[in-house]
C-alpha cells in the first residue's frame, strides 16, 4: 500500500486528529488521498508523436452536514495545508450540527490485481507494437492514408481516512489501446476507430496478436463508411447491435437513474419508482463487480464496496444509483456508486458497467420484421438532457434496412429519443448479450470516469434519425 505520509511533515496520527476534529460534528465526510501514475504513447503520421508520463498526488478533504458539502483539495500533503483545508471546511459548516455516521460496509473481494501496468512492459516493447500496427494497416490496404495508435496506462492508489481513524484503500490498474485509421479513396475520406481496454496488464490484452483484431476492426469500419450514402431523416424503426450500442441505455436511462438528480427532482424519472418504465422483458443492471472490467471497482471513492444494482427489472423501475450523501437524504443505502474523477473533484453518484440482460429473440428476427429502418452497429459518443429526458448518440457504423434486409451503409447520423419513453418502444430483446470492448468514459459535471456498457441486440419501434435525406 502507498504510504502517503512518507516525506511529509504530516504524521498519520496528526492527520487522523485533524480529520476527527473537523468531522465529529458533521453527518459524513473523509480525507481522500490519491497517487496516480499514467503514461501515454502515441504513434501518429508514421512517427512516435508523443511519449509522456505523469504523476499526480493530492488530497481532497470533504465535510457534509445535512445537504451542504464543503470541499477543499490541495497537492501539498503537509500539516499546514491540511489545517488550512480544515479551517475552510469548518467555516462553511460553522452554523450546522450533524451526527457522524460511522458505519461503512467491508469487503474482502477484489475485482482486479494489484499491478502497475506501466512498469510491466518496457517502453521499447510498446513502441515496437505501435510500429507494427502502423505497418500492418498501411500494408493491408493502399487506401490507408493515416494511422493513429496509442497506449494509455494508469495505476491509481487511493486511501480514505474517516473520522475515528478508519481507513480504506484500493489500487486500481487501467489500460487502453486504441487504433484510428483514415482511408482516402478517390478524394473521399472516412475514418474508423476501435479500441480495447480494462483493469489489466497490457500483456493479457495484447497476447496472440490481439492488436491485429483491433486494427482489422478499425479498418473494416472505415471501409464500410467509404461506401456510405447520406442517412435518412425522420422517425423510423431502429435495430441496435449488441455490445457498445448499449451507450443508448447509458444515456437514455442510466443518467436519469442517478441518485442526485432524483433527490433534486430534476430527473424525468424522479416520480416513477415502482412504475413501469420499459417493455416486459427489459432488465437493466449497473454492475461494479465484473472482473477486470473498465467500469468495475472493488470499493467506490467513498469506500463502499461496489455491487450489482438492479435498476429496472422486467420493465419496472426498482432502484436508483446512490452515493452516501444522496442515500442518506433519500433514506436508503449507498449502492457503491459514489465516484470522482480524482482528488480535485467531489463525489457524485455515477454508473459503473451498465447492462441490459438477455431476452429470447435473435437479431435475424428483428431485421426481418423491419420494412423501413436502420441497423446501427457502432457508435461514437452520446449525451442526455436529464430534465427533458431527450438524449442523442452518434452512429459510426450503420446500415439501412429495407423490407427485412440489410441494405447500404449510411453516413454517421445522430439519433435522438426520449429517455423515459424509449424503453417502452423496445419490442424485441435479443439473446446475444455482449460486453463493450472496454473504451467508455462518462462525463458528468466536468468529471470523466471510466465506465462499461453491455446489451444484446434490440429492436426499437420508433426513433428519430438525424440524416440529411428527406
Amino acid at each position: 500500500m502507498k504510504n502517503f505520509f512518507e516525506k511529509s511533515d504530516l504524521l498519520r496520527k496528526d492527520a487522523e486528529d485533524i480529520i476527527s476534529d473537523t468531522l465529529n460534528k458533521c453527518d459524513d465526510g473523509e480525507l481522500y488521498l490519491e497517487d496516480s501514475k499514467s503514461e501515454t504513447i502515441v504513434l501518429d503520421d508514421n512517427k512516435i508523436k508523443n511519449s509522456s508520463y505523469s504523476s499526480d498526488l493530492g488530497f481532497g478533504f470533504r465535510a457534509i452536514t445535512d445537504e451542504i458539502v464543503a470541499y477543499s483539495h490541495s497537492n501539498e500533503i503537509s500539516k499546514n495545508s491540511l489545517k488550512y483545508s480544515s479551517e475552510s471546511l469548518k467555516s462553511t459548516l460553522k452554523s450546522k450540527k450533524g451526527t457522524y455516521n460511522h458505519s461503512i460496509p467491508k469487503t474482502n473481494k477484489k475485482y482486479y490485481e494489484n499491478i502497475n501496468p506501466i512498469e510491466q512492459k518496457s517502453l521499447n516493447e510498446k513502441i515496437e507494437i505501435l510500429n507494427k500496427v502502423n505497418n500492418y494497416l498501411r500494408s493491408k490496404d493502399s487506401n490507408v492514408k493515416q494511422v493513429t495508435a496509442n497506449f494509455n496506462g494508469e495505476q491509481k492508489s487511493i486511501e480514505i481516512i474517516r473520522s475515528g481513524g478508519e481507513t480504506l484503500s484500493d489500487i486500481r490498474p487501467l489500460i487502453r489501446f486504441n487504433v484510428s485509421v483514415m482511408l482516402d479513396k478517390n478524394g473521399r475520406k472516412e475514418t474508423g476507430v476501435y479500441g480495447i481496454g480494462g483493469r489489466k496488464s497490457y500483456d493479457s490484452y495484447l497476447k496472440e496478436d490481439n492488436w491485429k483484431k483491433v486494427c482489422d476492426e478499425a479498418l473494416r469500419i472505415a471501409s464500410v463508411n467509404l461506401e456510405s450514402k447520406p442517412a435518412p431523416a425522420g422517425e423510423m424503426k431502429v435495430v441496435l447491435g449488441p455490445g457498445w450500442p448499449a451507450i443508448l441505455i447509458h444515456e437514455a436511462v442510466g443518467h436519469g437513474l442517478e441518485g442526485d438528480f432524483n433527490r433534486k427532482k430534476t430527473s424525468a424519472f424522479h416520480n416513477l419508482m415502482g412504475q413501469k418504465v420499459a417493455s416486459d422483458g427489459v432488465t437493466i443492471v449497473d454492475d461494479g463487480t465484473i472482473d477486470n472490467r473498465r467500469g468495475s471497482l472493488t470499493i467506490d471513492d467513498e469506500g463502499t464496496p461496489t455491487e450489482k444494482t438492479v435498476l429496472i427489472e422486467n420493465g419496472i423501475l426498482k432502484n436508483f444509483m446512490q452515493d452516501r450523501l444522496n442515500a442518506r437524504l433519500m433514506k436508503t443505502r449507498s449502492t457503491g456508486s459514489g465516484r470522482r474523477e480524482n482528488y480535485r473533484h467531489i463525489v457524485l453518484p455515477r454508473m459503473r458497467n451498465t447492462m441490459m440482460l438477455n431476452g429470447n429473440h435473435t437479431q435475424e428476427e428483428m431485421i426481418k420484421s423491419v420494412d423501413k429502418g436502420i441497423f446501427a452497429v457502432s457508435f461514437g459518443g452520446g449525451q442526455v438532457d436529464i430534465t427533458s429526458g431527450k438524449f442523442v448518440f452518434n452512429c459510426t457504423e450503420a446500415y439501412e434496412i429495407i423490407n427485412g434486409k440489410i441494405g447500404s451503409p449510411i453516413k454517421g447520423a445522430t439519433l435522438i429519443g426520449d429517455g423515459p419513453s424509449i424503453l417502452k418502444e423496445v419490442s424485441m430483446v435479443g439473446n446475444d448479450m455482449m460486453l463493450d470492448p472496454g473504451i467508455g468514459t462518462c462525463g458528468k459535471a466536468g468529471q470523466g470516469v471510466p465506465v462499461g456498457v453491455a446489451q444484446p441486440s434490440i429492436l426499437i419501434n420508433k426513433m428519430t434519425v438525424g440524416g440529411t435525406k428527406l
Binding site: T92, K411, T464, G466, G467
Partner: protein, 439 residues
C-alpha cells in the same frame, strides 16, 4: 488567496532546466503553474456546496537532438522532480527521432509581455459570493413555474511561468470570476432546463445577479410544453451561444495538426473561398480583459492578430512549431489554438434576420458530438423555437439538424449583434439549406 509568486515559479522552472541539461538534454522547456479557486454553490436559495482548490502543476519536455519526451506532475517537491526528470531523459533516449521536433525558432519568441489587464486582484470573500447568489436565486425563483435553481460563483486566481533552454522565461497572473445559474421549470406537460452565465477577468464586469437570474428563468420558462415538428428543409437561426460552436468547428478544422495529417475537410483550402463574400473572421489576442487574450502561445511564440478569413477566403491556418515545420510554414503563435476568435458583425439587425424567411427555426441548444472534422458532416440533437413572420411561435424539441460544414459555411448570414461574451464570439447566425429530422 496566496497564489505562488513569479519568484517561486521561476526558481522551480530554472531548477528543472538546469537539471535536464546536466542529465544530457540538448534542449528543454518547462511550464510551472499554480491556481487557486474558490467556488460557492447554491440550490433552491440555500447554500449547497463550498469548494476550495489549490492546484500546482509542472510540465517538462526534454529533447536530445530530435528525440523528445515529456512528463507532468502536481508534486513539486525536489526529490520528486529529480526522479521525474531522470525518467523523462531516459524515455527521451528511448523514443525514436522525429525530424520536426524542436523548440520554437528563437526569433519568433515573444520579447515582452503586454499588459492586457487580465488580472484583478479583488478577492471576493465567500460571504460576499453567498450574498450575490442569494440575490441571483431570489430573482431566478420569482416565477412559480421554476421548481429548481442551482447557481454557482467561482473566483479563480492563477499564475504561471513558461521557460525554455533558449532563455525564454515569461508568465503572468490571470484572474477569472464566473457566475452561473441553471434553472428547471415545470408545467403539466413538461419539465425543462436552461441556463445563463457570465464569465469575466474583472469582478466589476460580471453581470448583475438579478439580471442573470431573471435571464436564466425566462429562457427556461419559454421552453415549456415543446412540440416536435415534421422532417423538413428549413432555414435555421443559431442563437449566439450555438453560433460560436460553428466558429469553433471551423477553428479545429484549420489547425496545422489536422492539416498536416490530412484529416481536415479544409485541407488545401488556403486562399480559396470557403465562406460567402460578406464573411470576415478575426483572431485577435490583444483585446484588453479579453477571455482568450495573451501575448504568446503555449510554446512562447508571439501571438499577433490574424485575419483568418477575408471576404470569404481562407487566409491562414493556425500554426504551431512542430506542424509548421512539417508544412513549411512559420508558427503564427497558435499552439493551443485560437485566442479571441470572432466573426465580424453582419449588416442586418437581429429582428430583420428573423423576418428574412416567413418560417424558420431558432436553435438555442444542441446536444451530442456530431461534428466530423474529416468529412465536414454535421448532425446533432437540437432544441429551439419555431418562428413565423419574425415572431416566436412555440418551443421545439427532440429534433436533429444536419448538413455539411462545406455547404453550411457558404450559406451563413450574420446579424449585426456581435458582443464579446466568450473567447469565441459570433453574432446571431442564419444558415439556409439544412435538414431538420423530426416526426
Amino acid at each position: 488567496m496566496m497564489i505562488k509568486d513569479k519568484e517561486y515559479l521561476s526558481e522551480k522552472a530554472s531548477y528543472c532546466l538546469d537539471l535536464a541539461k546536466k542529465l544530457g538534454a540538448t534542449d528543454s522547456s518547462v511550464l510551472v503553474s499554480n491556481s487557486i479557486s474558490e467556488t460557492v454553490n447554491f440550490r433552491n436559495q440555500k447554500l449547497d456546496e463550498s469548494n476550495r482548490s489549490d492546484n500546482l502543476a509542472i510540465g517538462i519536455t526534454t529533447y536530445i537532438g530530435k528525440k523528445k519526451s515529456s512528463i507532468s506532475s502536481s508534486n513539486l517537491i525536489k526529490e520528486n522532480l529529480d526522479i521525474l526528470i531522470e525518467k523523462c531523459i531516459e524515455t527521451t533516449k528511448n523514443t525514436p527521432e522525429d525530424e520536426f521536433n524542436s523548440l520554437p525558432d528563437k526569433d519568433l519568441l515573444a520579447q515582452e509581455v503586454k499588459d492586457l489587464d487580465l488580472y484583478d486582484d479583488t478577492h471576493l470573500k465567500n460571504e460576499d459570493k453567498i450574498e450575490y447568489l442569494k440575490r441571483l436565486e431570489i430573482s431566478a425563483s420569482s416565477n412559480k413555474k421554476i421548481v429548481n435553481t442551482e447557481s454557482s460563483f467561482t473566483e479563480d486566481k492563477s499564475n504561471f511561468i513558461l521557460a525554455n533552454s533558449d532563455g525564454f522565461c515569461e508568465g503572468h497572473e490571470d484572474s477569472s470570476f464566473v457566475a452561473s445559474s441553471v434553472t428547471v421549470a415545470k408545467d403539466e406537460k413538461s419539465m425543462e432546463r436552461d441556463y445563463e452565465y457570465s464569465s469575466r477577468c474583472h469582478l466589476k464586469d460580471i453581470k448583475d445577479a438579478e439580471v442573470l437570474g431573471k435571464l436564466a428563468a425566462e429562457q427556461t420558462i419559454k421552453k415549456l410544453s415543446p412540440k416536435k415538428i415534421s422532417s423538413e428543409k428549413i432555414a435555421l437561426i443559431f442563437d449566439k451561444r450555438i453560433a460560436k460552436g460553428v466558429l469553433g468547428a471551423f477553428a479545429s478544422a484549420i489547425h496545422s495538426s489536422v492539416i498536416s495529417r490530412g484529416t481536415s475537410f479544409l485541407k488545401d483550402k488556403i486562399n480559396q473561398k470557403i465562406f460567402s463574400d460578406e464573411i470576415d473572421i478575426f483572431d485577435k489576442p490583444d483585446i484588453l480583459r479579453g477571455l482568450g487574450s495573451r501575448t504568446f502561445d503555449s510554446e512562447g511564440v508571439k501571438t499577433d492578430t490574424l485575419k483568418l478569413v477575408e471576404k470569404g477566403v481562407l487566409k491562414h491556418y493556425l500554426v504551431d512549431s512542430y506542424n509548421g515545420k512539417k508544412l513549411n510554414l512559420k508558427s503564427n503563435g497558435r499552439c493551443g489554438g485560437t485566442s479571441n476568435l470572432y466573426f465580424n458583425k453582419g449588416k442586418i439587425s437581429f429582428k430583420d434576420l428573423l423576418s428574412l424567411n416567413s418560417r424558420c427555426l431558432y436553435i438555442t441548444e444542441t446536444i451530442g458530438h456530431g461534428s466530423n472534422i474529416v468529412t465536414g458532416d454535421y448532425s446533432v440533437g437540437a432544441t429551439g423555437f419555431l418562428i413565423e413572420n419574425g415572431d416566436f411561435k412555440y418551443p421545439i424539441n427532440e429534433i436533429t439538424i444536419a448538413g455539411n460544414f462545406k455547404d453550411m459555411f457558404k450559406n451563413i448570414t450574420l446579424a449585426n449583434d456581435l458582443e464579446f461574451e466568450y473567447s469565441t464570439n459570433s453574432p446571431t447566425m442564419m444558415i439556409e439549406g439544412m435538414v431538420v429530422a423530426g416526426k
